[in-house]
Every structure is written in C-alpha cells, then in structure tokens.
C-alpha cells in the first residue's frame, strides 16, 4: 500500500480525502493537523460565536469517521519541515512521517495588518474554533469591542459578539463595506442595515495603532482620532499558509502554485484549499476549494483528467436579518456589460444585475434575496434571457418552492458549496432509504457547509420521501432561528419589547403564524404587560378574546370559578342566550357554560350583559380549576376542595401560559374532578394535599407526577404557584405541561421549584405576582377596545365615479 499523507485537517483537505475514498484507493492515509479538533465547518464559526450553533453541531467528520475509514489522524502538532529527498514530513516535536504522496492542505491564516500594538492582550483574530472560544470567554454585556475589517468575516464576527451583549464598532479601511462583493450603493444599504441592528460602522478609517499598557485601551487612527476599546478583533483578510512549501523549495507566489490538476512543482506533492494559488488567483470561499478537492482526488488516484477552473465566486453573508448575496462578476466597466438596478430604500432592498450578451453575468442582492436560486441558475447555465428582459429584475413569482424543486432538472446543483446535484440527492434517497435531513447530510454532504440550501434539501426530501420525518425542533422557526432558551435570553438581555423589534433584529422581519404568537407570549411573560402588545401578532382568539368557530362566529365561556355558579348568573346567561339568538348553550367538560355561535360584533354587548369575567377558554392561558364539592357537602370529603379550587383560580386567572393550562382540585383520593389528569392538580387527603403536575387527558392520557405532599392549603397553593411560574418561564410555546414535565424530568422540576432555596422560590413567586398585578380580565375591552374597529363592523361611506360622487 502506498502511503498518502495529508498536512492539514481542514475542510479542503478532508473533503479531498473523502473524494479519494470514493475512488477505492490503494492508500494508507494519514492526516496531520495542528488544530486539536476533528474536521469542523469553519464557515459556521460565526454561528457558534452568535450562539446559534454549538461547537459539536459544526463537526463535519467525527472521530468515528476517521476510525471507520482506517485513517490515522495525528492532531495538535504542527508540521515544521518537508524532506523531499527522504520523502518525509517532520512535526514540531521531531516526529517523522514518511510519504509516497503528499497533499498540502495547510489553509490560510488571518492577515494581521502592520499596526503598532497588535501583540497586546485582548487583541484577537477570528479564524478557528479556538479563536472563537477565546472570544466567547471575553464577551460580556457592554464590553467595548472593535472589529477591524468590514468584510464578510468581520461583519459576522461583529454580529456574533453583539448578540453576546458586546457594544460593537466595525472599522473599515475602505469607503464601503464588503467592497469585494458589493458596489458602493450595495455597501451603503448594508451599512444602514448593520447600523439598524445596533452595530456602529466607521469608514473609511485607517487604524494606526492599538494603544494601551499591555492590554488594549483603544485604537488610534491615522487621522489622529482615538476610539476606546476593551476588545479588538482583527478580521482584515487571510493569507495562504505557504511557508512550509516555500521552505521545501516548491514554487510559491502568494500561495502554493498548482496547475489545473492540482499538482505542485514536485510530482509527489499536491496542494488543495486556501493555501493554493491557481493561475494567479488565491481563494477564500469554500465552493471552488471543494472543486479543487474533487479534481485532486482524481489526479492522485490515477484518474488524472478532470481540470480545475475557478468558477464565478458567490458570497452570502450569514447574519440573520441581513440578506446579502453576490455572485459572478460585478465589474460594471467591463465592455459589453449592461446594468439593471432596482432600489427600494424603505424596504432596504437593492438589486443590481449585470447582463452581457443577453446572459446574466453577475449580481448584487441586498435586503431581498428571494430570487437567489433563480439568478444562480441563470448565471451557471448561461441561459439566454432575451425573451424575459422585462422580468429580469422581478422574475415571475416562485410560487411554491416545493413545485420549483420538482421542476428543476436532475443536473441542477442544489448545494453549491459541495457541488451536490439534484439527481445525486434523489439517487441517495432511494438507494439508502434516507428519511431525515441528518441522514441526507451524512450521505450526500449537501447542506453541510454554509447551510443556505437546507431549505431546498428539505423540500426535496418532502417531495420524494412520503414519510419524511421533521427532526426534533431546536429552533423556534425559520423566521427567528434561535432556540427558545436562547431567544428568551436575547429578549431579556437586549430588552426587546415588541414582536416587530425581535423580528427586525433577530429574524427575517416578516414572521409567521408560528413565531408571532410564540414571541407575543414570550414578551408578555418576560415583561408582564409593561411592553407594547402587538395585537396583529396574536391569533384571532387573543385579539377578540373568544374562540373562533368553523363558520367564523365565536364561542363565549364566562369564568365560573371552581365550577360554582348561582341562580343569578344562570339567569343572566339564559337572558343573553335569548337576546342574542345564541344557537347553542353547552355544558363544557370544564364545569362551565359555553355560548356558541356569537357574532364578533356582538361580543362586547354579550360580555356586558353577562357581567362575568372572561374564562379564557380561547387562549393559551389559565383555563379553569375543576373541583368537587369536598367537605362542603360530600360525605367522603376530607379537604375543602371547592374553596381551595376557587382560590387557586383567583390567584392564576388572566395569565398566559405556553399552552392551555387546566387545573383540578379534589377533596379526597376518589378524584371525582379528575385532578390527576390535569396540568396542575391538588388531591386532598386526610391532613394533607398531594400537589401533582403534568397530567393529561387529551390526545394522550398521562397520570400526573407527584410534585410534593404538603400539610396546609396555603403550602399547596404556593407549590402550585411555583410550578405554574416555572412552566411559564421555561416551557416552550405550545408545549403542554405534560410534555414539559417529561422533557425536564420531575426531579429537576422539584429541585428548581418546591425544593429550591428560599431565595429562588421567592424570586419565582415575585415574578408571578408582578405579572399578576398587570394581568386584567380581557373582557373589560368591551368598554376600552384596543382599537376603534376591534369589534365594530366597518360600513362603507359612499361610491364615487372617477373622483365624482355618484
């Protein structure tokens, strides 16, 4: 077996090894890397910095992969020397590794501009996982942070640190941000968007020195001005790591010179990735490097033939809410190039297309990248666009993307980074019985780099696989792709107080029917009604405080605490039912009365005539407490369940919860009011109460878990309140208490509620009581509507004919 040694354990080197393995080579493979980590996705480091992904989630090849393919990996040791005569490489500890064929995949390093003071403490670069961890260790709320460099990486680093609470300024040497991918107008739109996120941008600014005594105090610019800084991140570009090759006498310019077959000037040595220079060009984006990997794999396994051509570069900024896409040539001055532009300053959208010989030649999309795939298709296929000149800037609506995927030819590239075509994906799905995105990624590598084609891949899976499984949801939704936990932290620390604000800063600005109600809940829970409630973000039930029915009418359920009513209340309910021609009056399963079929316009009057508070039967909130008659009348009752239930309902009513919240209190273990299948239940025993949580009798039936057994009614009420608030704060939106209890485990819940320290218990209760102070009976809006037409039907004014009254 011939010995193949790869110096470099990064994306290009390992991708090349993966392709080599596909050729079933007669190689004994060794990978030598100076980072201690297995191969991870460097492109996604900014997402780790921003907390959108964990370090584990960006691993591309885990230890098992190396083992399964008999690849010897030696990590954490830098190679110092190549001995071309002896055909060996030597690492920093003097260990010698012999090779027959050698691949240099040494990557690139952060370029450190010649600025005085770069060696000071708290000056960082952002290039590796270790760099990322170092930055995370420093980041804290209010930390004065300066990022030098307004390119892709600098902006991503800036946003990541800002999400972590840092106070970030971006310094850029040029007149315009991302000047390599955008024109000045595009750069201006980008700058405005970045600033709207709360990041300061200063340009053009040349940094002369980093000042401070040992550690950073600030920056001094060439103009003489100074800027305070506690942390400096340098993201001023990259330089190929070509020193090892240069010292070995290989032909090196800026990078290691390779030909179209990825061969260097030594017939046994090859190079791939950011360390290379091909026809005078060096590389920083992943797609061409993966092409190099494919070509080199063919060359080295005696299938020499495919040649590398550097395709039109495409770059996308990976900052949520900042949509930037640039591809192809953006040089307007090229002869024969026509330019088409559209701008909408209020939307922050700018689009520029460069067309040459009726073919798309390049593009800049800022703020609106909906048509990215259509344009990339045109760019790559070189389609003749003469018949659609009038629609170029606004191509026909994509309609359903799923259909669009079905319409794509098999040769269409789905994953640009890894060059995976539609046909390959479909073939893999059938051959390996793929049903999940995870399997698809493992098999095809599609969507494992920048991840922007994940949506397309998922649509393809949906279209081809009948029993496609959506994987466990870790993020709220595609509009705001953060986990609930992270989002709660963001909303709390960044003091975001409206749904629109969250969507603008951390989302896609549109939102949808999934995230808008979820965010509404989160804001209400965190800010207890001191925020600006946005009714448009709520489901109709919570806009008009009634439950919408299949014919568009509403149902009205007044609160009847503990299921106890009176002749007077019953009379009023009867009168209302007659007065408003209510088609049905129904006894509910929750010991209440439901008036079904009420028109929206009648709701305020119905509520007024009832003179009872809202039963919240329409909301994700506190529904009711079902009780038995307990010691009041029952021969067997040992606890006063009725009055305890009424008190429990009074303490929690009018509050919102992640999902509906039903309770029950029973006066003895016979459990007549079914407290053990409620979200919260009290089961009376002789001399004590059992407080149980997480019961269900809906789609599934689950017996509640015992939270605690207590002696007094007040203790039971407090235990109930603790669990209630804990669920409010930690439950994911639309997660019922029984799923919540199973997810966290009753032990953890006990420890953090009833068995928590006095101080923590008090804090939980304080937050609950503060929310309760702001909570109001929603039906009071009968007199103070949220807006003039909340319930009132609009009547047209009159008709006019072309400006004249009819």
């Amino acid at each position: 077996m011939r010995r193949l040694v790869v110096v470099g354990n990064g994306m290009a080197g390992v991708a090349c090894v993966e392709h080599i393995l596909k050729h079933n080579p007669e190689f004994e493979i060794t990978i030598l890397g100076d980072e201690t980590h297995v191969n991870y996705n460097r492109i996604l480091l900014s997402l780790v910095l921003a907390g959108e992904k964990s370090a584990d989630e960006i691993v591309l090849n885990d230890v098992e992969w190396y083992r399964a393919h008999n690849i010897r990996a030696k990590l954490g040791a830098r190679i110092d020397r190549i001995d071309r005569g002896a055909r060996t490489v030597v690492n920093e500890f003097g260990e010698v590794t012999p090779y027959d064929k050698l691949i240099l995949a040494t990557g690139s390093s952060a370029f450190i501009p010649p600025i005085h003071g770069v060696e000071k403490e708290n000056v960082h670069v952002f290039r590796t996982l270790d760099d990322t961890h170092a930055l995370l260790a420093k980041a804290r709320r209010g930390l004065k942070t300066v990022v030098i460099g307004g390119g892709l990486l600098g902006l991503e680093a800036a946003r990541g640190l800002q999400v972590r609470g840092c106070d970030v300024t971006v310094i850029h040497l040029m007149d315009s941000l991302m000047e390599r991918q955008l024109d000045t107008t595009g750069g201006e739109y980008l700058k405005r968007r970045i600033e709207s996120l709360g990041i300061r941008v200063m340009l053009p600014k040349q940094t002369a020195a980093i000042v401070g005594n040992g550690h950073v105090d600030g920056l001094r610019f060439a103009s003489g001005e100074e800027l305070e800084a506690e942390l400096v991140v340098i993201a001023a570009g990259i330089r190929p790591n070509a020193g090892l090759a240069r010292a070995a006498g290989l032909e090196v310019n800026r990078g290691i010179v390779v030909n179209d077959f990825m061969e260097t000037s030594d017939p046994d040595i090859f190079a791939v990735g950011e360390c290379t220079e091909h026809r005078g060009q060096t590389f920083g984006l992943v797609a061409p490097l993966y092409d190099q990997a494919r070509v080199l794999a063919a060359t080295i396994t005696d299938h020499r033939g495919p040649v590398f051509t550097a395709a039109a570069p495409a770059a996308k900024l990976k900052i949520m809410g900042v949509d930037i896409f640039s591809a192809g040539s953006i040089d307007e001055s090229e002869p024969g190039v026509e330019v088409l532009k559209s701008e909408d300053p209020s939307l922050g959208a700018y689009k520029k297309l460069l067309v040459k010989d009726n073919r798309l030649h390049g593009m800049i999309l800022v703020g609106d990248i909906e048509d990215e795939y259509t344009y990339m298709d045109w760019l790559k296929s070189g389609a003749d666009l003469s018949s659609m000149r009038r629609q170029l800037l606004f191509p026909p609506p994509a309609g359903d993307r799923g259909l669009e995927v079905a319409d794509m030819p098999d040769s269409e590239t789905i994953c640009g980074c890894n060059g995976v075509r539609k046909g390959e994906i479909i073939h893999s799905i059938h051959e390996h019985g793929i049903t999940t995105m995870r399997q698809l990624k493992e098999r095809t590598r599609a969507s494992t780099s920048c991840g922007t084609c994940a949506g397309l891949c998922e649509k393809l899976l949906r279209a081809v696989v009948p029993d496609f499984e959506v994987e466990t949801k870790t993020t709220l939704c595609a509009c705001v792709p953060f986990s609930y936990e992270r989002l709660r932290e963001i909303v709390r620390t960044q003091k975001l107080k409206s749904v629109e604000e969250v969507l603008a800063v951390y989302g896609n600005r549109r939102g949808c029917e999934v995230c808008k109600p979820a965010l509404s809940y989160m804001l209400d829970m965190l800010w207890c009604g001191t925020h600006e409630e946005d009714r448009s973000a709520r489901f109709i039930n919570d806009r008009v405080h009634a439950n919408i029915q299949k014919d568009g009418t509403f149902s009205v359920v007044p609160r009847m605490r503990g299921g106890v009513t009176s002749p007077d209340e019953l009379r009023r309910i009867a009168d209302v039912a007659e007065k408003y021609n209510v088609p049905m009056v129904k006894v509910t399963g929750s010991q209440r009365l439901d008036l079904l079929g009420v028109k929206k316009a009648d709701l305020p009057n119905v509520w007024r005539d009832l003179g009872m508070p809202s039963g919240q039967a329409y909301s994700k909130g506190v529904r009711m407490v079902k009780t038995c008659v307990g010691t009041e009348f029952c021969r067997f009752g040992v606890q006063d369940s009725t009055n305890t239930g009424i008190e429990l309902e009074r303490r929690l009513e009018n509050l919102f919860t992640p999902h509906k919240f039903k309770m029950g209190v029973v006066g003895c273990p016979r459990n007549c009011a079914e407290a053990t299948v409620k979200d919260l239940g009290f089961v009376g025993q002789d001399g004590s109460w059992q407080v149980v949580v997480g019961g269900a009798a809906g789609k599934s039936v689950r017996k509640a878990d015992l939270l605690i057994t207590v002696e007094t009614t007040e203790q039971a009420l407090e235990a109930g309140e603790l669990f209630f608030q804990y669920y409010r704060e930690n439950g994911n939106y639309l997660e019922r208490s029984y799923d919540f209890v199973e997810r966290l485990g009753i032990e953890k819940i006990r420890k953090e509620t009833v068995y928590a320290s006095d101080e923590d218990r008090k804090k939980l209760l304080d937050r609950l009581h503060r929310s309760k102070e702001y909570a109001r009976d929603a039906w009071l809006e009968r007199d103070r509507p949220a807006n003039a037409t909340q319930f009132v039907q609009i009547e047209p004014i009159d008709k006019v004919r072309e400006g004249q009254l009819v």
């Binding site: 448009s536 806009r543 919408i548 609009i794 004014i797 004919r801 009819v806």
Partner: protein, 116 residues
C-alpha cells in the same frame, strides 16, 4: 362598461391597524381589507378551502394565514403561497385618497383563471 370605474369609499386608513385585516360587507359581497404596514390591499373574505374569515388571519409579510386551517395566500397576487392548490383569491383594486381607502368592487381579479 367602458372606461369609468366606480370606487367605493370604505373607511379611514386608521381604522385598519398595521398588519391586521377588517371585513366589509356590501350586499352579498364580503371583502377583507388589510393594512400591510401602510399599503392597503383587498381580497374576498372567504378562504377557498372552507370559507374561513381571512380578515382574522395573521399577516406574514404580504401573505395572510387563514385562521381556521392555516392556508396561506399572498394578498397582492391572491395566489396560494404553499400548498399546490388550484384555487386563489379574488383581488380588488384598492387605493388611498385623502386618508380614505377606496375599493373598486367591480374590478375583482383572479390570477389563476387568467393564467389558465
């Protein structure tokens, strides 16, 4: 039927809050007028699926989600956003003059009938 359009003056713009819709009944016709952050659009107020009141739906971008079963429709084109459904909404020409929303009730337009 040449030329002259008849516009119905409906209501003041402030009566429709941003990102919400309101129903208006004119004879047998019920329309839903939406405020897309300052841009006003009008569609028929019945979801082609099961007649759901679209005026009560959540607005996402320029689309509305029917409150009954979650069908999505683009409010500008009337086209369904997601499911490959053959049906779409009738869209009514809408404009604003002196703070009043005007709708051409005779000018309903259905994208799919026209496309077919």
């Amino acid at each position: 039927m040449t030329g002259e359009r008849v516009w119905t003056r409906i209501t003041r713009t402030e009566n429709i809050p941003p990102r919400e819709g309101r129903p208006v009944r004119i004879g047998d016709l019920e329309i839903a007028i939406f405020n897309l952050n300052g841009r006003f659009v009008t569609v028929e107020n019945a979801c082609p699926h099961k007649g759901g009141p679209l005026c009560d739906g959540i607005v996402t971008g320029t689309a509305v989600v029917c409150p009954l079963h979650g069908r999505h429709f683009d409010l500008i084109s009337g086209l369904p956003v997601r499911a490959a459904e053959p049906s779409c909404l009738a869209v009514f020409p809408t404009r604003v003059e002196d703070g009043i929303i005007l709708v051409d009730l005779e000018g309903a337009y259905k994208a799919i009938e026209h496309a077919a």
